[in-house]
Symmetry: C2
Subunit: 275 residues, 2 copies
């Protein structure tokens, strides 16, 4: 932990949720990886923009069979870990959850809360199922997926338009996107473009995802995607993981990416010119 360390050591972690609040007083929080030492499983939840820090953070945690599970957003994180620490260690995971860290040591849980994991290099192994079982024993729904890359693209079908338009349209929530006929249309068209891009890269996704995602977004109400909160609070935004890398991979594969390209450059400009 960085800025939250002292607070969490003194007061623990607090989770506010409609499913019940929770206070974890004896949270094991450390300032350095050396204090933790070699581990069976390292769960990486750093923002993707800080990946370079992993080059120093991870080595003290490694033993021969240490597994690296990245729960980060977007594309490129498994590749980064594989390049530095070996592809065979790497498992990827996706978090389907609406939550915001509102102040030091405090997390506000707004909805959902499942994890999907998959091997980076191929089909699920016994270790993949063992990790899923560990999550389930802790009360977290965790599904094992046969095709991690497909799951990543499937999640981008939501993240690219909703996180993106929330920033590009001047800092608005998902309800405002859906209430504006032009933004709702652009969100749908962006979803279609992401689905086509995924297909071009060999990941079959159904066209019905567009309608499914719009339907699933309405009940979220005035939810601010995490990238928007990062943007509004002046923190780094995972622009390359969520928009840049998918755009480049799809363009290189020959997919039609005009809308994605447009959105990516609008977000770049918004980040460059924000107050």
């Amino acid at each position: 932990m960085r800025s939250d360390l002292d607070h969490v050591r003194r007061r623990g972690l607090r989770l506010h949720s409609k499913q019940g609040d929770c206070h974890l007083q004896g949270a094991s929080a450390y300032a350095t990886a050396e204090e933790i030492g070699p581990s069976d499983l390292v769960i990486i939840a750093l923002k993707a923009t800080s990946n370079e820090a992993l080059v120093e953070l991870i080595p003290p945690l490694l033993k021969e069979d240490t597994i690296l599970l990245t729960l980060q957003n977007g594309l490129g994180n498994e590749e980064f870990l594989a390049e530095h620490f070996g592809a065979e260690r790497v498992i990827g995971g996706l978090c389907f959850v609406c939550l915001n860290r509102t102040e030091p040591g405090v997390i506000r849980h707004l909805g959902a809360g499942t994890i999907s994991i998959g091997e980076f290099t191929g089909l699920p192994l016994p270790r993949t199922h063992e990790i899923a079982s560990e999550f389930k024993r802790s009360g977290v729904v965790c599904n094992v997926k046969p095709d991690l890359a497909r799951e990543r693209w499937k999640k981008l079908v939501w993240n690219i338009p909703f996180n993106g338009l929330a920033i590009a349209a001047g800092g608005i929530d998902v309800a405002e996107i859906l209430a504006d006929p032009d933004l709702e249309f652009l969100a749908r068209q962006l979803m279609r473009e992401v689905i086509s891009s995924a297909r071009q890269l060999g990941h079959e996704l159904p066209a019905s995802l567009v309608e499914d995602q719009v339907k699933a977004t309405h009940p979220m109400g005035p939810y601010k995607p995490s990238s928007l909160i990062d943007f509004l609070e002046g923190r780094e935004v995972e622009i390359e993981a969520i928009w840049g890398e998918p755009y480049r991979r799809a363009a290189n594969a020959g997919a039609e990416v005009g809308r994605l390209e447009y959105l990516y450059h609008e977000i770049r400009r918004a980040l460059r010119t924000r107050q």
Copy 2:
């Protein structure tokens, strides 16, 4: 004339230009078409958003061989005139000029000032050259073009990105577009998309236009395109003529129009939500 009529009748028309100022005291200004009566040539310079008014304005001006020359922006104006008054009357023209009407009866000329005209239904006729000669006799450079539709698309290669991004990016001038690396990139990509769209519709335009237009725009400095001024002053913007109609024609022809579609919907939203 509408709101400027009294002013121009009393004080005439004033033109401010680096090439010399000009004051036309005895300008023939009329409130109604009936006062003018049947004419050889009707030059239509109304904003395209007011085209419905032409259905009442033009009939009093018509005799058997009256020519209708539209100097309006974008696509769809010749078609509108052809539908209501017969295609054989219609000539289209493009104005290459930077100018703004700054107050009643006053025009500020900032640069350029040539006209290109062409027949709506085919190749130039003797009458096309006669009209060009009339303009030349009045000191206006006027070129006759064999393919009007191609000229319209060529002009859109500039108007779509520069008028469009000026509005969509929050009300900025062309120098600010060129100074922002993301907007400059989007402007170039939009130009490429318009060129491809024109080609898909059978109008051959060279790829070198992109570089030519960027080079021609730099000397304009902080020029505000006319659509931006309309937008900022709360007046109607020619969104369908400049963006909507080109977008729909290109999409129907199977061209890749993701960027144009995105820009069109951003402008629609900007118009809907402007203060």
